[in-house]
Structures are given as structure tokens and as C-alpha cells.
């Protein structure tokens, strides 16, 4: 069932690349991307479903938003000194997307539903680089569906909460250190869909004055569990085939960590909105990556690699300026601290402290149609790691990403 839902929602749309800390993908609204992805302490329109369900109750009109980004990510690798081997990922362009719809049941109570992609990772290193025995490619996809209710308790205070239903899948391929006499190296592919997982997203929005607003949001951990995933071996020479048996299945689990955010909004003039957010992502939930196999693979019934992520903070600022009643210009920046400790770097998520710079514009076409466009540039710090604690691939990694996106809003 879960895989059919994924298929219905359209294969390639689903995934995103790991372009925030770890494998979190913070691309939830085109307007907010333009503002450094702030949004906890301000009204963000329908996307408050994601940023702060407490603010959703303030929406004046019913609305639908659809948007998508084109995520172009590049990662370079260089072997530990004095090695000089280099590699660069050949990542496909990914299209994380978001759909939000909000309906006012009455002045105070609003109902909404959001579909978005807050986690994911796609990296394709290929099968020639020095780290191919660690990873050829990984595609981790997660899609969250979130029905939400929000209630405005007073003019100044709103609360809201949504149930998160999460669907996901993973595909991981790597080269095996077993070679045939034709020179070909063996390969292993793990492929599986996750069981439907649950979580929640709750928020409080407080607007003490016309100029100031505050928000607190908690998105719970969602634990993806995979069972009966398929393990496929290829290019295994006959003499080694006993170690890699057909029909092997795997199970694994991966936490999508909880995120607690606090945000402030300030509107000094009618035309200017300033926002700042701070988030704490509970990455420490990701202790290890473990695959359990139904038949031994190279003599082992499980593969365990320590991850030991640590909780990390994200700091964001953003601004929107209404040049005219129809045209909005936006800008923002953020610093996303890495959850990956020294010694634990991996080629799946060669993570480092990440700097994001964004610009955006909004244009109101008519009373009920408006457009948003955003552009986000992400630059992760160059990081050299021995990867001696994660059993990863030691070396220097450098990641950058260019993420243009567009969104369309209808209100009625």
C-alpha cells in the first residue's frame, strides 16, 4: 500500500538531496525559502501548516499553495593527504515540493492539510571512486502528509496541531570488495519501502502587538521502519557466491529527528517584515545505521555502522519588503550546524556546517492568485575527516547547492 501511494504521488517528485544538516531538507515554502526559511514566529500563509500550525488560525481566506524547488547539489571529494584521488557526485536534479490547503471552518477554527518532503537524500558517487565500497549511490525519500487543525484562542494567541503520516523508501547501492577474473567488482543493492510512520507537528503563535509576533513549534520525531526490503547482488563470481545468497532480505530503521523551533517576527513598517528563527534538531536520535539480513551477507547477519549524531542548532534570519502592493522582495540567511561529529563523516551525508543565502520575490497577479519565486545558495564548509569511527570514507568533502524554486498561491 505505502509503495503504491508513493508511486501515485509521482516517483521523482518525492525526493530531495541532503542539503540541510544530516538528511533534513528545509525547503517547505517558496516564500519562506526567500526569507532564509524563517517562519516560526510570523504568519506564512498556508505553509504555517509546516512552520507553525498555531499561526494557521490567523489566515483570513481559504487558500491552496503548490510549489517546488529544483535542487542542484554538488559534492567534491579528495582523498586524505598525501593522496590526490578526487571524485565528484553526479547527483540528479531533485524536486522537493510542497502542497498546502487551508479551509476556514469558522473565524476561529481552521482546518488544513499539508504534503511536503522534510527529509531525504540523493547522492550518486558512481562505482569508480575510491569510496565505492562505502557507497555508489543512495536515495532516501520521505513524504509527510499532515492534516491539521488550528484554533485562535484570542486575537493574540493561536494554537494548532497536526498529525503526521510519513511514507518513505530507501535505495542504497555499493560495490563489494569481491572481484571476478573478468575484473568486475560485485555489487549490492538494498531497496525497500518503509512502513507508514506517525508523528505530529504542534505550535503556538502569540501576537502581543501589531508589530511583534512570536512562535513556538515542535515537530516530533518520526521513525522510519523498513522490513522485508530486497537485497540484490550482482557480478558475484561463482566461487564467492556462497557469501552472497539470492533471496536475502533486510530490515532497518532510520529516525527523522524532532525539531523544536522558536521564532520572532517584527514589522517596523507595514511594508517590512523581519523574522528570526532558532531551531534545535534532536539528531542524537540517530545513533547507528544498522541493516539486519535474513541470510548472512559475507558471513554477517547484520551490518552496523556507528553514527552518533549530536543535537544541532539552526539559526535563521529573513526579511520581506513590499516594493509595491503587488511586488515583494525577500532575502535571508542561515547557519545550520552539522550534527556529524569528527570521525563520523560518511559519503551518504558528508555533512559540515552549512551556510545558506537566499533571495526571493512575490508577485500578486490578482485578488486570488499570487506567485513566489526563490533562490537559495547553500555552501557547506570544506571538511576533512578520517571517518575512523563511522567506518566511512576518510577524506575532504565540500558541498554546495543551488536551489531555485517557484510557488503558486490561490485564495478564495
Amino acid at each position: 500500500m505505502k509503495s503504491r501511494i508513493l508511486a501515485l504521488l509521482g516517483g521523482t517528485l518525492l525526493s530531495a538531496s541532503a542539503m540541510a544538516g544530516g538528511y533534513q531538507v528545509n525547503l517547505a515554502s517558496q516564500r519562506q525559502i526567500g526569507m532564509g526559511h524563517t517562519g516560526t514566529g510570523i504568519q506564512t500563509g498556508t505553509s504555517s501548516i509546516f512552520f507553525n500550525p498555531g499561526a494557521m488560525s490567523y489566515l483570513q481566506e481559504n487558500g491552496v499553495t503548490i510549489g517546488a524547488s529544483a535542487l542542484v547539489s554538488k559534492i567534491a571529494y579528495r582523498a586524505l593527504e598525501p593522496g590526490t584521488a578526487e571524485a565528484e557526485v553526479d547527483n540528479p536534479v531533485k524536486t522537493p515540493f510542497q502542497v498546502y490547503a487551508v479551509y476556514g471552518i469558522n473565524d476561529k477554527l481552521k482546518a488544513g492539510i499539508g504534503v511536503y518532503t522534510p527529509f531525504g537524500s540523493t547522492v550518486r558517487w558512481g562505482d569508480e571512486w575510491p569510496g565505492r565500497f562505502g557507497l555508489n549511490e543512495l536515495s532516501l525519500q520521505a513524504i509527510f502528509v499532515q492534516p491539521t487543525l488550528s484554533y485562535q484562542i484570542t486575537d493574540k494567541l493561536g494554537v494548532g496541531a497536526g498529525l503526521v503520516l510519513a511514507f518513505g523508501s530507501v535505495n542504497l547501492q555499493k560495490t563489494l570488495p569481491v572481484q571476478g577474473q573478468n575484473g568486475q567488482e560485485g555489487k549490492i543493492e538494498l531497496d525497500g519501502g518503509a512502513n507508514t510512520a506517525f508523528g505530529f507537528n504542534a505550535g503556538i503563535f502569540f501576537k502581543p502587538s501589531d508589530k511583534l509576533s512570536l512562535g513556538l513549534n515542535y515537530r516530533s520525531e518520526v521513525k522510519m521502519e523498513l522490513e522485508n526490503g530486497d537485497v540484490t547482488f550482482s557480478n558475484i563470481p561463482a566461487a564467492a557466491s556462497g557469501n552472497f545468497q539470492p533471496g536475502t532480505q533486510f530490515s532497518a530503521s532510520l529516525p527523522m529527528p524532532a525539531t523544536l523551533s522558536f521564532g520572532v517576527g517584527f514589522t517596523p513598517t507595514e511594508r517590512l517584515t523581519l523574522a528570526a528563527d532558532i531551531s534545535r534538531v534532536s539528531w542524537s536520535a540517530y545513533e547507528r545505521l544498522q541493516f539486519d539480513f535474513t541470510k548472512p551477507v559475507a558471513g554477517n547477519t547484520s551490518s552496523v555502522n556507528e553514527r552518533n549524531y549530536e543535537d544541532a542548532f539552526i539559526y535563521r534570519i529573513g526579511a520581506e519588503y513590499m516594493v509595491t502592493d503587488a511586488l515583494a522582495l525577500r532575502g535571508g540567511a542561515y547557519l545550520d550546524k552539522t550534527p556529524v561529529q569528527d570521525g563520523y563523516l560518511t559519503p551518504e551525508t558528508p555533512d559540515a556546517d552549512s551556510r545558506g543565502l537566499s533571495v526571493g520575490l512575490g508577485y500578486t497577479i490578482s485578488d486570488n492568485i499570487s506567485l513566489d519565486a526563490s533562490f537559495l545558495y547553500i555552501n557547506k564548509k570544506e571538511r576533512t575527516d578520517l571517518a575512523n569511527k563511522s567506518n566511512g570514507i576518510g577524506g575532504t568533502f565540500k558541498s554546495i547547492a543551488y536551489i531555485p524554486g517557484v510557488g503558486l498561491n490561490f485564495s478564495f
Binding site: E88, P177, G180, N182, I365, L371, P404
Partner: protein, 444 residues
């Protein structure tokens, strides 16, 4: 709206074109040769230096020798050409070697590939003569040579790998020592001395030839120091390399002392009866049992092997398929007894002391291969590949259990590069070892 769409579309396109050209780049430290002159690199040594593996010397093995890898990396910092006595492509199998034919009951089936570079009709005491290569070479690796034999002028008439490098008139008249002295390097590596213990060890302490006895350390020191003196006569720099303990390689560690596995009480009973029902001090039980070996020094002339003694890889088939070590005692040449192990260890220590002292004395770099192989006995992980001194599956050692695979040689070359870099303030790049193969398994 159309205008907006057009403009933002163009902007996105422009951004896309602009940005795909901005790839992340990582700058490394600039390569440098430091304090050394790499115009003429010469490699002095034995089979390990020649690239020998799978019990043979063949073209692919030569191309992946550690000196070839070093020379290739030296070129990145201005090093000169490097000539090896390569077998022609038409004679690529060289001396002949072993190939992995099948894997049956957990045991590799290993078959010989005949040598294509064998000179018909000429056989030397050390084996069939090989196609000549008499132009000057810089890889002076001669499989089988020891410090002792490097000083013997007769050696060219004995060892086919040395004979092939010599002009006819030099055969039997020119010692290897002289060949080394004439090489006139600006930089050298010297990994010699392994065969001053290894020949004795691989013959199970029962040397088949007088040349494969344990060399006297005093004589070893004399020849070794003189050879280093000739190499450094023109102020050449270089690396001296110590001798790994024989017990660090799969040839001596693959077959455990208690390799005699009995599954039924009947088997134990029948063996107990065959060996005097305990009267000879030999008893058997269900499970792993020490192998039975012949030992003329004990009254019964047979005994069970001790846990401190080593069974050679060459005994594997005799034990598994021909009943040796149980009903038939394993002959002396298939194992190292305690006394032999002690002698080998003592000689290895003495030789390595000489090598270290010579390096210090001459101000040369020293790679302690003994310490390195000792440190990896339990295996190690590099770029998610496990390496261990384990036969066939350990990725480091070739099918003869003594010599590395191309991957193993690449790892050795990288260790040497690190030693060179740290001693001579150089920054010679290491290689990506995953580009070199390990054991290749048969079957589609």
C-alpha cells in the same frame, strides 16, 4: 503574468547555466620532492621488489610492483624514467604462476599457468632459464636473492631471474653486489634480507639447498653495510626496509596446528589404536586435534604438533586430501618446530637491528616493514574494505601466501611514500589503492 513567468523562467535558466559551471573544488597541498633527487631511482631487492606474486613473476605483477608504483608517483614531482625488466606481452605469463581455479568445500583450488618466457633447453639449479633482458634496468629485484647470495659471483649461473639480467659473459662471474654498485642511483630503495631467513622457513627448516640456510648475522651485516655504502657513494638518498617476521604472512598462519578435525568417536578410536592407544603420548578426541608430525628427535619419531609451531601452507592439500597429519605423520618440511621458529625469530631480530643501525648511520630513511606487518596482524579497514594477512580472502596476499597482491603492493608503496615524505620533507602523492586488484575469484 506571462511576463513574470517569462522573466523568472529566463532568470532560472540563466542561473542554471551560470551555476552548473561553479563546481566545488578542494585544493590539496602542492606535490614536492623535498630534499631528494629523483632523477634516477633504483630498486634493490628480492622477489618483493620484482613484483613477484602467485608464486611467479609475470608481466602484470611486474607492472604493479611497488617500485613501479613509486616511480609513477615520483614522476608527479619531477622523477625520471624507470625501467623494469618486463616480460614481453607475447610472454606475459613470464616464469609461470598460480591461478585460482575453483573454490570447493571452502578450499581454494589453485592451478599453475605455464611460463611463456621459459628458455627451452636451459635449466639452471634454480629453475628453467628465462628470456634475457640485458639492457640496463632500475628495478633490480631478483626473486630468491639474499644478502648472502648477493655477494656470490656464481649466483648468476644458479638463479634464472638474475641470469636473465646478465650478458652471457657475466653469468657466473658477476655478483649481484657489483650490479648494484654499477647502478649509480640518485635515489634508491633496498628491501633485501628476507631470503636470509625465508628460504629456511619455507623449507620447513629443512633447506633443500645450501643457499637457503639461515645466514650468519655477522656476514649479513658485512655485506649489507657494504652494499649500502656503494649505493650512497654519490650521496644518493634512499629507504632501507626491514624484514617482516615470517609469522606475519598467511603461508605460515593459514593451517592451524590443530587442523585435524574429527567428527565421530570412531575416527578418534581408530587413530588412538593406530598410535599405540596412548602409549606414544598421542591421543585423539572428537573436535580439533593437533596434527601428527614426524620428529626424529623423539623416541617414537612421531608426536603431535605444539600450538607454538607453524604448519606451512604447502601442507594444506596433503592434510585435507591425502591423510597427512593423522594416519600419516606430516613430514618435517611441512612445519616449523619450536627450535626452528626460535632460530628464525632470532635471525630476523638480528638482521633488522643491522638494517635499522645502517639507516641511522647513513642518515637514510627506514621503513619498518616488520613493525607494519606486525601491526596489521589483526587486520584493518581502509575505505570500507577489510584487509588482513589471511589467505585468499584477506585482500593483501597473493595465492602463494607470502607475496602481496597488486593491492597489497600498492599499500606497501603508500607506506614507503609516507616514510619518504616524512624523512625527506617531500610531498609525494600516494595512490588510490582501490585501483589495484586483490585476489580475483573464478566463475561467472
Amino acid at each position: 503574468m506571462k511576463n513574470f513567468m517569462y522573466k523568472s523562467g529566463m532568470l532560472a535558466l540563466f542561473a542554471g547555466v551560470l551555476l552548473t559551471s561553479c563546481d566545488p573544488e578542494i585544493d590539496g597541498t602542492a606535490p614536492s620532492k623535498g630534499d631528494i633527487n629523483l632523477e634516477k631511482y633504483v630498486a634493490v631487492g628480492n622477489s618483493l621488489t620484482a613484483g613477484y606474486q602467485d608464486r611467479g613473476l609475470y608481466r602484470e605483477a611486474q607492472l604493479n610492483s611497488y617500485p613501479a608504483i613509486l616511480a609513477q608517483q615520483f614522476k608527479l614531482v619531477g622523477g625520471g624514467e624507470f625501467t623494469q625488466p618486463l616480460f614481453e606481452e607475447s610472454q606475459a605469463s613470464g616464469s609461470g604462476y598460480l591461478t585460482f581455479a575453483d573454490f570447493i568445500n571452502g578450499r581454494p583450488v589453485i592451478k599453475p599457468v605455464p611460463g611463456a618466457a621459459v628458455r627451452e633447453g636451459t635449466t639452471l639449479p634454480g629453475g628453467p632459464a628465462l628470456t634475457k633482458y640485458t639492457q640496463p634496468v632500475q628495478n633490480l629485484g631478483v626473486p630468491g636473492i639474499s644478502v648472502l647470495t648477493s655477494a656470490m659471483k656464481e649466483y648468476g649461473a644458479i638463479n634464472p631471474y638474475y641470469e636473465r639480467l646478465l650478458e652471457p659473459a657475466e653469468v657466473g662471474t658477476k655478483p649481484y653486489f657489483q650490479e648494484v654498485a654499477e647502478s649509480n642511483p640518485t635515489f634508491f630503495t633496498m628491501w633485501l634480507g628476507n631470503n636470509d631467513v625465508l628460504g629456511y622457513a619455507t623449507d620447513g627448516g629443512a633447506p633443500a639447498s645450501p643457499l637457503s640456510n639461515l645466514t650468519d648475522p655477522a656476514m649479513f651485516g658485512n655485506i649489507y653495510k657494504n652494499m649500502v655504502a656503494t649505493l650512497t657513494a654519490n650521496d644518493a638518498k634512499g629507504v632501507l626496509i626491514t624484514i617482516p617476521n615470517v609469522t606475519a604472512v598467511p603461508f605460515f598462519t593459514t593451517v592451524p596446528y590443530n587442523a585435524l578435525a574429527l567428527t565421530r568417536q570412531g575416527q578418534a578410536d581408530s587413530l588412538n589404536a593406530a598410535y599405540g592407544s596412548g602409549a606414544l603420548g598421542i591421543t585423539f578426541k572428537v573436535g580439533p586435534n593437533p596434527l601428527v608430525v614426524s620428529d626424529p628427535s623423539v623416541p617414537a619419531r612421531v608426536r603431535q604438533i605444539k600450538s607454538t609451531e607453524y604448519v606451512l601452507l604447502t601442507a594444506l592439500d596433503s592434510i585435507a586430501a591425502r591423510g597427512y597429519g593423522s594416519k600419516k605423520p606430516l613430514p618435517d618440511k611441512f612445519f616449523l618446530d619450536e627450535t626452528e621458529v626460535k632460530e628464525i625469530m632470532e635471525h630476523t631480530v638480528a638482521f633488522n637491528d643491522i638494517i635499522r643501525a645502517t639507516a641511522k648511520d647513513k642518515g637514510l630513511a627506514m621503513w619498518d616493514a616488520n613493525a607494519f606487518f606486525e601491526s596489521i596482524k589483526g587486520g584493518f579497514k581502509l575505505d570500507e574494505v577489510t584487509y588482513a594477512p589471511v589467505f585468499v580472502t584477506g585482500n593483501l596476499f597473493s595465492l602463494d601466501g607470502i607475496h602481496p597482491t597488486p593491492r597489497g603492493y600498492a599499500i606497501v608503496a603508500n607506506e614507503l611514500i609516507k616514510t619518504i615524505n616524512s624523512t625527506y620533507k617531500a610531498n609525494v602523492p600516494t595512490v588510490d589503492v582501490t585501483q589495484y586488484r586483490a585476489i580475483q575469484f573464478p566463475g561467472k
